[in-house]
């Protein structure tokens, strides 16, 4: 469709004229402006909603909201075209079969072997070995080898050694969706562990001997402690309501030596609505400070984030400080339980704060334990009530921790944003389906590529320059401040307003430091080379001096060789490197070098992400807010300044 206008969300007066293309996998908008031909690419799987608005004199507006929080507003001249685009997108955005998803057609030009290698990057058995398992207390169980006991669990499950198959099967029959207690994290320093399950089918009075034995086995696998925490992450009221349906929570009287604890994290429906409300705030056009803060507060989003963090902190403290094992569950044990277990693991074990460890953590607590990615993130057309930003909340928890502990994580914010993007993009097979069983049936590993390999290949882009493996924040457990700490939780504009570049800091400390570190590395190499050359030269000169009187020829030769050497080497080139060095400084606007650098980085690693990047003006649309100054002051793009930047840098 031609002559489509793409509206700028910040300023309605700025609009780009271009052509809209629909392909099998993407919506593509190409600007007409001949010098830039800027392209905006949106994957169909990223589209969360399409809204056709009332036709105006200028054309027919179409609003596309994406799962990665991009909002695209198009105006299509012809109503008929708009309708066609709308109908096509509705169909394209809601595939019904897995085979329609992008990952089955996505081909990064890797051979079979590379693909297989990619899938081997994260190996959970290796991870449990790293934790020190199997050992005297824990073992791998094959009770679920054909998904016979629990179809949403992995085939390989770690359980206490004393838990026999009989106990496991018995316990699984007493748990929602047969999700019996299994090991999530083991702390080899003190034997304390984090186990996870679903709620017990206790109703008002039901008991299950095997389930009680199972919990006892978990408690006894930690000989240093005489009790076990059972953490129900639901609000008490919700848990009690479940009793009427024959479900519920553990009765302390029936289980020996447990301490039962509720931590009120709301359910997926509350979270979905909360995000919806927060996004409405983000979409407000030039909101006042009050509008924004009120909206943010009313959404309750940060309160929910804090609830998840608090649960994670509670568990981490129980394990690290008290040395007590914890069993965590919610209702089905695949949403809140996954959030809380992974936050606790992240706090406890510095390994999960590395890039590789973080991949392992998501693989362990989310993918293998049957977090329903397909339902929660709406990859296939399904029940909208199943959709909820569960892992988004976990990712935000990580970001909040990064803000509080800037040196603790090996990866940076960009890494989190890209992981979030790909959970929805369906470009890689990792997050497809609802369980390991479904993924194996679809032969995902043979037909698609792994995101982890892709991210790992580009890991240089995702490093946190402040991370140092011997820094105190990268050792041991992190203890975030508990109270009063409300102000520690902040709105993450880098995520929820990530496509409005104008709102973000214009200069990135992370990028700057990454460039400095890179240069430092070059300097180190240079230093080594220079040192060697100097040593050689001095040696030669020393020799030369000694034998100078006798062998004039020789010293001449040496001198010659030294000077040719210097010509062949790089001081001059390095000098020019130095000259260009200041250009790394993120000076201004979008066209400055640092941003180009990051965009290049993005391009190399993620064509889809970079194509979306929008060029923003540094000038705020101030005039529209001044009663009498309107109209006459139009903001321009900061391109002019950037040109000057180039001149001045030279």
């Amino acid at each position: 469709v031609e002559n489509v206008r793409l509206l700028d969300r910040v300023s309605s007066r700025k609009a780009a004229l271009g052509t809209l293309y629909l392909t099998a996998t993407h919506v593509i908008f190409v600007e007409n402006a001949s010098d830039t031909r800027k392209e905006t690419w949106v994957l169909h799987s990223q589209i969360s909603s399409i809204e056709k608005q009332a036709t105006t004199a200028t054309g027919c507006p179409l609003l596309i909201r994406c799962k990665n929080f991009q909002v695209i507003q198009l105006i299509i001249p012809q109503e008929r075209d708009c309708h066609d685009v709308y109908i096509s997108l509705i169909r394209l955005a809601r595939p019904v079969k897995y085979e329609e998803l992008y990952c089955f057609s996505f081909n990064p030009k890797l051979d079979k072997e590379e693909r297989e290698q990619g899938w081997k990057l994260v190996d959970l058995n290796e991870e449990y070995n790293r934790m020190g398992i199997p050992n005297d207390y824990w073992q791998i169980s094959d009770v679920n080898r054909d998904y016979g006991v629990c179809d949403s669990y992995p085939t390989e499950v770690y359980v206490p050694k004393s838990a026999t198959a009989h106990i496991i099967v018995g316990s699984s029959k007493f748990r929602s969706r047969r999700r019996f207690p299994a090991l999530s994290y083991y702390c080899k320093d003190n034997n304390a562990s984090i186990c996870r399950s679903s709620q017990p089918l206790s109703g008002f009075s039901a008991r299950c001997l095997e389930d009680e034995q199972m919990l006892q086995a978990i408690r006894k696998a930690n000989p240093g402690s005489d009790f076990l925490y059972v953490v129900d992450t639901r609000p008490k009221l919700n848990a009690m309501a479940n009793r009427a349906a024959g479900k519920g929570y553990e009765n302390e009287d029936n289980y020996s030596n447990i301490k039962f604890q509720f931590i009120g994290i709301e359910n997926i429906h509350v979270m979905r609505n909360s995000l919806q409300k927060m996004l409405e705030v983000c979409e407000l056009k030039s909101p006042s400070m009050s509008d924004f803060l009120w909206g943010l507060e009313n959404s309750g989003w940060l309160k929910h984030i804090k609830a998840i963090m608090d649960a994670g902190i509670f568990i981490a403290k129980a394990v690290a400080e008290e040395g007590v094992s914890v069993l965590v569950h919610c209702s089905d044990g695949w949403d809140r339980t996954a959030q809380v277990c992974s936050v606790a693991s992240l706090l406890l074990d510095p390994y999960y704060r590395t890039m590789k460890g973080f991949m392992v953590l998501i693989e362990k607590d989310w993918i293998s334990f049957g977090h329903k990615f397909n339902h929660r993130y709406g990859n296939l057309d399904g029940d909208p009530k199943e959709i909820s930003p569960v892992i988004d909340q976990f990712i935000e928890c990580v970001w909040q921790l990064m803000e509080q502990f800037p040196c603790a994580f090996e990866f940076n914010e960009r890494f989190l944003i890209h992981v979030q993007h790909h959970i929805y993009s369906c470009q890689f097979g990792n997050f497809l389906c609802n369980s390991q069983k479904e993924r194996r049936e679809l032969k995902i590993q043979e037909r698609t590529y792994s995101l982890w390999a892709h991210l790992w290949k580009n890991r240089a882009d995702y490093l946190n320059p402040l991370h140092r493996s011997n820094h105190s924040q990268t050792q041991r457990t992190l203890y975030p401040q508990m109270a009063p700490c409300n102000f520690l939780y902040k709105f993450w504009s880098g995520m929820y307003n990530r496509f409005e570049k104008g709102l973000h800091p214009r200069q990135s400390v992370t990028d700057y430091l990454m460039a400095v570190k890179e240069e430092t590395q070059q300097l180190e190499e240079e230093l080594e080379v220079l040192g060697e050359r100097l040593a050689n030269l001095q040696k030669m000169q020393l020799n030369g001096n000694k034998i100078q009187s006798k062998q004039q020829d020789r010293s001449k030769q040496l001198g010659l060789s030294a000077s040719t050497n210097s010509l062949a080497n790089t001081p001059q080139e390095y000098g020019s490197d130095l000259k260009s060095f200041p250009s790394r400084s993120p000076s201004q606007g979008d066209e400055d070098s640092a941003l180009i650098l990051t965009q290049d980085n993005l391009k190399s690693s993620d064509p889809d992400l970079s194509a979306n990047s929008d060029q923003e003006s540094g000038v705020e649309d101030l005039s529209c807010r001044s009663p009498s100054g309107g109209g006459c002051l139009h903001s321009e793009d900061s391109g002019k300044d950037s040109d000057e930047a180039v001149c001045l840098a030279v």
Partner: protein
């Protein structure tokens, strides 16, 4: 008067100090004329607290049995608690502190007694003289002149003796214009934008009154700054309503008929008690230990602090936009021209002028646009967020300005030579200091107090390399461009370094700062090494060649 008269009990042993974020320590409390000193008896810690009485905003006392507790709330927002055994001693100490922290006479303040322990390399009082500023200006334009019309402060009591005005306007005209402007604050040059020769001027409101008085000299003065055929903008920092109401009291605004080449824009920036209340509410919210997430956000919202930040920044961006993008000259004023006007003109310069983002440039800006321009520091900073006495002149105008600078710094972390600590230091010294810089309300008062002879300038201390090291931003790379900050609510944040300074855990953030410094320093070290080696190599090679030639 002797301070001894005010000190009823100079010393209390066995007192316990509860500071923010540190365990309680037992020790001895001493009161001197200007300081409250607490030293712990334990040798190993050896910690001493020296608190200027002038820093104390309010003192509260309460008793449990014979154990008295004094809660001291400081202007830098810190709260400390002292447990003092003995009711009488405690009462004496509390009343002494109260008396010493509310001295009436400026000349009894610490700056008049302070003797520096460092060698003065450069006299800060002479660092930023208007003549020097004008010299810089005269390199690029000759359309302006220095006027000494106010040398005895008779034309405008709140202006400095020397101001910069259009060359074609003589002192006689200036005197006439002064009569037409509130407080005699006639339009003067605030900033000259080298890039396009546009200027920013500031003044106070014109005294048009209800019958629309006019002043031809005033019109001529501000028109003199316009290029032929060009229009200018008048940014009035009051809402149109407020400006209209001001006419009833003899004030007013420039009317279109008399100023046809100027377009007036009203941007509402709050002043006085509204700002003070905002600060009090904000600090209350930050210190509240009990609330949950929701209450925190609504209290932050209810304080309106960030709304004020947004308003001020928006007005400053607008002024900068007029100058840089519209190529138009700007006149900024509110009613008095000593508060919101200065916020706007100084912030616009930070946006436009790279020099203002350096340490010395920023100091010059503070001197020029705040101290010499007659912002009444003495009145505005007499009390801070904990004051319970209602005095109507206090307002955190300067703190809001510093907060806005911090917001821009946060958005452009590599464009400023100074760091957050530098801004916090200025905040502290504006409210309580051993230096004379922020004493008095204008140059007139300062010259009467003979501050330059009797006190030390803050700049004499700050500009020593030992001190500067603490205030330098390791990420700084000179950026010669205009920097346009975002004023969207998503982009503005609470300035934690000031408002949560005493309540938030800062260890991990400090560690991060240290890490940044390590990375940069290591890089510089290597660069130096590489350069040295390269030089050495080059020398050896020339030696070689010389030997060859021999």
């Amino acid at each position: 008067m002797e301070f001894a008269e005010l000190i009823k009990t100079p010393r209390a042993d066995n007192a316990v100090l509860h500071g923010p974020r540190c365990p309680a320590v037992r020790g001895t409390l001493c009161l001197t004329g200007h300081h409250l000193i607490f030293s712990s008896r334990r040798k190993e810690g050896g910690e001493e607290l020296w608190l200027l009485h002038a820093n104390i905003d309010c003192v509260e006392k309460r008793f449990v049995g014979s154990l008295g507790t004094i809660v001291i709330k400081c202007k830098d927002l810190r709260i400390i608690q002292l447990d003092i055994p003995g009711m009488e001693e405690c009462l004496n100490i509390a009343s002494s502190i109260e008396a010493l922290s509310t001295l009436d006479s400026i000349t009894l303040m610490y700056p008049f007694f302070y003797r520096p322990m460092f060698e003065v390399v450069e006299d800060g009082w002479r660092s930023y003289l208007p003549e020097q500023e004008f010299e810089l200006l005269s390199l690029v334009t000759d359309e302006w002149r220095l006027s000494c019309a106010n040398k005895d402060f008779s034309v405008c009591p709140t202006y400095p003796p020397i101001v910069i005005v259009p060359k074609c306007i003589d002192d006689e005209a200036l005197r006439k214009v002064a009569l037409f402007r509130y407080g005699g604050r006639f339009p003067v040059l605030s900033y000259y934008h080298k890039k396009n020769g546009m200027v920013m001027m500031r003044s106070s409101q014109p005294l048009t009154g209800t019958n629309g008085r006019r002043c031809k000299e005033d019109e001529k003065l501000i028109n003199a700054t316009l290029r032929p055929g060009k229009r200018g903008y008048i940014i009035d920092t009051r809402s149109l309503n407020v400006a209209q109401q001001a006419r009833a009291k003899g004030g007013g605004f420039e009317q279109e008929v008399y100023y046809p080449q100027w377009r007036r824009i009203h941007k509402c920036i709050e002043r006085f008690n509204i700002l003070q209340e905002s600060l009090i509410k904000l600090v209350e919210a930050c210190n509240d230990q009990s609330h949950n997430m929701d209450r925190w956000l609504s209290k932050l919202e209810a304080s309106n602090w960030l709304t004020h930040i947004k308003e001020i920044l928006t007005a400053a961006c607008l002024a900068a936009q007029c100058i840089d993008r519209e190529g138009a000259s700007v006149l900024v004023h509110g009613s008095d021209g000593t508060d919101s006007t200065l916020q706007v003109t100084s912030l616009a310069q930070i946006i436009l002028d790279p020099r203002c983002r350096t340490i010395r440039g920023f100091e010059a800006l503070v001197v020029r646009e705040w101290l010499q321009a007659g912002h009444p520091f003495q009145l505005r900073c007499a009390q801070s967020a904990y004051s319970n006495t209602k005095q109507k002149w206090e307002a955190p105008v300067f703190l809001l300005f510093l907060d806005c600078v911090w917001q821009i710094l946060r958005q452009f972390p590599c464009s400023f030579e100074f760091n957050e600590q530098f801004l916090i230091m200025l905040f502290e010294h504006a409210y309580a200091s051993q230096f004379g810089t922020f004493l008095g309300n204008n140059e007139n008062e300062r010259s009467k107090l003979k501050l330059t002879q009797k006190t030390m300038s803050l700049w004499s201390w700050v500009n020593r390399s030992e001190e500067l090291a603490r205030f330098k931003n390791p990420l700084f790379e000179a950026n010669s461009l205009v920097i346009w900050p975002s004023v969207a609510p998503q982009s503005l944040q609470l300035w934690e370094g000031v408002f949560l300074r005493w309540n938030r855990p800062s260890k991990f953030l400090d560690e991060a700062q240290e890490e940044v410094l390590n990375i940069i320093n290591y890089n510089r070290e290597l660069q130096a090494k590489v350069n040295a080696l390269r030089r050495q190599l080059a020398e050896l090679e020339t030696d070689d060649r010389m030997q060859e030639n021999l």
